[in-house]
């Protein structure tokens, strides 16, 4: 329910700017709803979702988006759905009404925090804490993964070619991740630093 959304920010600051190299932005006010297909209902769920939103629920680690609704693969027959609070009044209620028969629908808005990392050194920064390869040959816009950063479990996906990555972590770890981001990105604070 929107009126129960945590109003305190998950992160201690709105952003971290590192010259023209890395930009780290707290993405507050995102509604996050998790859906898990019920047993033997995946096909019906996928068909219903396509009919209503014109989106195919990805069956592999990937992200799709249409009209302000983003879908990120989050495990076997599980997805995270995201939209801005301002754009959609109550995503969980809508999803439960539309797909409750095919899927377990749970509001994760209070459980997750999302941070966006972008800029030409974004991959270098993330490489310090992420064990999967984020090189553009193997991970690009539309790709997603469930993995960890600095020992914190997270979902990560790439939204554009700047590149911009978004990371969803448990909200209680948001502060810890932010401190890690501050220190790990400190070397990029001068725009003329040598590569």
């Amino acid at each position: 329910m929107v009126d129960q959304l945590i109003t305190l920010p998950a992160f201690p600051a709105p952003s971290i700017e590192r010259a023209d190299q890395v930009r780290i932005v707290a993405r507050e006010n995102v509604q996050i709803v998790g859906i898990t297909a019920r047993e033997r209902e995946t096909e019906s769920l996928v068909l219903a979702f396509r009919a209503v939103y014109g989106l195919d629920l990805p069956m592999k680690p990937a992200r799709v988006e249409k009209d302000g609704l983003a879908v990120v693969w989050a495990g076997w027959h599980q997805w995270l759905l995201m939209s801005d609070v301002a754009a959609v009044p109550d995503l969980e209620q809508i999803m439960r009404a539309d797909f409750g028969g095919y899927a377990a629908v749970v509001d994760h808005s209070d459980a997750r925090a999302i941070v966006a990392v972008s800029g030409r050194r974004a991959r270098d920064l993330l490489a310090k804490g992420v064990s999967i390869d984020l090189h553009p040959r193997v991970f690009t816009t539309g790709d997603a993964a469930a993995t960890a950063i600095s020992h914190v479990g997270m979902h990560i996906w790439q939204t554009d070619e700047k590149p911009t990555f978004e990371l969803a972590v448990p909200r209680t770890y948001a502060d810890s991740l932010w401190r890690w981001m501050e220190r790990a990105s400190a070397e990029y604070q001068n725009s003329d630093s040598l590569l």
Binding site: P61, A74, W76, S131, A146, T147, G153
Partner: protein, 99 residues
């Protein structure tokens, strides 16, 4: 060691939790020798040198239970699959066919 998760692809060992033998079968509590069978089920392991079917949990990833076929001497992994898909022990599959 890297494990090929059927959902996520190849991942570092530190994303997984090891659970052990994938072919253990929980004994029937109504069995006359249930006590002895449960002791064997809980404590006795064969510690094979070579081929081993074992359970792994992708906890820092997609949270899927995986059965891996691994060589305990070389750590080579021959195959992985989701435990619910074909990872069931042969005994369990045979039980299902009988029922």
């Amino acid at each position: 060691m890297r494990i090929n998760c059927p959902c996520c692809g190849e991942r570092s060992l530190d994303e997984f939790v090891y659970y052990g033998d994938a072919d253990l079968r929980r004994p029937d509590p109504q069995d006359e020798e249930a006590g002895a069978k449960f002791i064997a089920y809980v404590y006795e392991r064969t510690n094979p040198s070579g081929f081993h079917r074992e359970l792994w949990y992708h906890g820092l990833g997609c949270r899927t239970w995986i059965v891996a076929e691994r060589d305990t001497r070389t750590h080579e992994i021959y195959a992985t699959c989701r435990a619910v898909d074909g990872g069931a022990p042969e005994g369990a599959a045979a039980d299902r066919e009988r029922s």
